[in-house]
């Protein structure tokens, strides 16, 4: 059996009295690209916040690798790489400082050369010594993704990480993630509205509706939809949403 990097079971979470997540179940294996789909306000970002430890879980369990996010959060977070929302980057720090602080927070001894290579491929290096509040949306996204890749994490969590990226950088990032997945270095959880990514890159996709996973497509089903071409994935999503 392939090693699971994320396992979410019976997850419930709420803002005040409003229950946003109502028993979410999902798991991601090492080497798997998992796309989380769904209309606005169904709980995709809330789910990511729970997985990354930003939000307290009411009921349920989250395991990253073999560690529980609830009872062993520090061990679980050592396996986690998160691309925060661009507006959450500290505006008064430079890109260099952000990368150094994140690496120190992850107790790393060094920042690997591969990350610097990725920074160069994304065209980020020339902005590295500027404060992040001077960055464009795309440049912030690049920094957020680089922060997620620090320390070669087993689970990479991305929330709309391709928004604002120029096409060349987006392709570079997709290829890079695909390469890491093919080497079974990590699993990827991506919340997105982009069906193009589901069609060309995802191994598994799930549609969230009303705080729970309403429909999930495995690798074979996505391959079928891919073969069908045309509006295969859109039609499948519409049909699942209409149920």
């Amino acid at each position: 059996m392939t090693e699971r990097v994320l396992e979410v079971a019976g997850l419930r979470a709420k803002y005040g009295t409003h229950e946003v997540l109502q028993g979410v179940e999902l798991h991601i294996a090492r080497g798997e690209w998992f796309c989380l789909l769904g209309p606005n306000g169904v709980g995709k970002s809330t789910l990511l916040n729970c997985v990354t430890g930003r939000m307290r879980v009411e009921v349920g369990e989250i395991h990253i690798g073999s560690y529980s996010m609830l009872s062993q959060p520090l061990e679980a977070k050592r396996l986690l790489g998160v691309a925060c929302a661009p507006e959450q980057l500290p505006g008064l720090l430079t890109g260099r400082q952000c990368l150094e602080v994140y690496a120190a927070a992850k107790n790393l001894r060094s920042i690997d050369a591969e990350l610097l290579e990725v920074a160069a491929q994304l065209g980020f290096t020339r902005f590295i010594d500027k404060c992040t509040d001077t960055y464009s949306l795309g440049t912030r996204q690049k920094l957020a993704v680089l922060l997620a890749l620090i320390g070669d994490p087993a689970l990479i969590v991305l929330d709309e990480a391709f928004n604002g990226l120029d096409p060349a950088s987006a392709v570079t990032l997709k290829r890079l993630l695909r390469e890491r997945l093919s080497q079974a270095r990590c699993g990827v959880l991506l919340a997105t509205h982009s069906l193009d990514i589901v069609e060309h890159y995802a191994d598994t996709a799930a549609l969230m509706l009303d705080g729970r996973v309403a429909r999930q497509w495995n690798q074979a089903e996505i391959a079928e939809l891919r073969k069908a071409g045309g509006e295969g994935i859109e039609a499948a999503l519409a049909a699942a949403s209409a149920r």
């Binding site: 990354t52 430890g53 930003r54 959060p73 520090l74 061990e75 977070k77 050592r78 986690l80 998160v82 925060c84 959450q88 980057l89 500290p90 505006g91 008064l92 720090l93 430079t94 260099r96 400082q97 952000c98 990368l99 150094e100 602080v101 994140y102 690496a103 120190a104 927070a105 992850k106 107790n107 790393l108 001894r109 060094s110 920042i111 990350l115 610097l116 920074a119 290096t125 590295i128 010594d129 404060c131 992040t132 509040d133 001077t134 969590v157």
Partner: protein
């Protein structure tokens, strides 16, 4: 808090040595006029700039509203706060005059205040907008780290130490700290004081302002940093110490300079030492509380 502040102000003004204070204001009516004018110009022009920027991003910007309605709305935005401040000052002056039994003593200061506010508001309203259009980012006022070699990127918590200081610097930008200098100019440097004494008072106020900003920055940065670093396995010590380290050093150096300036003037050295100890105790308590309440695994 606001109610307590107002009550404290009224009680303070009522017990103020109204004769000396009001006669000083009568004597320095021109200064009152100038200060009111400067404050009105900057306040109204800034409010107008913000109102224009907010309107351009508002969901109502494309609605078919009349230009007159928009102008009236903008005028209310710009003048309401200034008018409220003007009323509060007038009421406080009236209370002081009534406490002293001579209502006539406030006529000249109030007239100067009114003239300053009216002229300043008009100038602030009509100031050209173009030179303010560029919104300056907060990091412009922070001290930037020297550009380094990308190939030598190493894990380091120096950025975390730098963050509260950068925030304090950006909070103390000229448009935010102008009121402090107006207050200093009005109240701190007494007539007859030497230039050196005046500069010393200004220096102490500047450092004190920075230290208060740094204290406040420590609280806000602790929250932001904790949120940003929450998905990482950072320990409490690894989070709290780098965050406070440089800020504590700045606080210690700053308060020692302030204490030295105090003991050099009229305060006894024992008072100066107690100021240092009390301030550093407060700073440590605030930083420890801010870090511990923000940090969560």
């Amino acid at each position: 808090m606001a109610v307590i502040g107002i009550v404290a102000s009224i009680v303070g003004v009522a017990h103020w040595s109204s004769d000396a204070g009001l006669s000083a204001l009568q004597e320095y009516w021109l200064l009152v006029l100038v200060v009111a004018g400067i404050h009105s110009v900057t306040s109204v022009s800034r409010s107008r700039r913000h109102a224009v920027a907010a309107w351009s991003e508002s969901w109502l910007a494309t609605a078919p509203l009349s230009a007159a309605a928009v102008r009236v709305n903008r005028a209310i935005d710009c003048f309401a706060l200034l008018f409220l401040q003007y009323l509060i000052v007038c009421v406080l002056l009236a209370i002081a005059a009534l406490a002293g039994g001579e209502f006539g003593t406030i006529l000249r200061p109030v007239a100067a205040l009114t003239a300053g506010v009216l002229v300043g508001s008009a100038v602030g309203w009509w100031l050209p907008e173009s030179r303010h259009r560029e919104q300056r980012e907060a990091s412009r006022y922070a001290v930037h780290a020297a550009a380094g070699n990308t190939a030598l990127l190493q894990p380091s918590d120096r950025g975390l130490s730098h963050w509260p200081v950068a925030r304090a610097m950006s909070m103390g930008r000229p448009e935010n700290s102008r009121l402090l200098f107006v207050c200093v100019a009005l109240f701190a440097v007494q007539s007859g004081a030497s230039a050196v004494q005046g500069i010393a008072v200004l220096l102490v106020w500047t450092i004190a302002g920075y230290l208060v900003s740094l204290l406040s920055a420590g609280i806000t940065v602790a929250k932001e940093a904790a949120h940003w670093l929450r998905p990482t396995p950072v320990s409490f010590v690894g989070f709290a110490w780098p965050l406070a380290r440089r800020a504590l050093l700045h606080q210690a150096i700053g308060i020692v300079i302030v204490a030295a300036a105090m003991s050099g003037s009229d305060a006894a050295w024992l008072e100066a030492v107690s100021v240092v100890v009390l301030w550093m105790g407060l700073v440590l308590a605030v930083y420890a509380f801010a870090s511990s309440t923000s940090y969560r695994t």
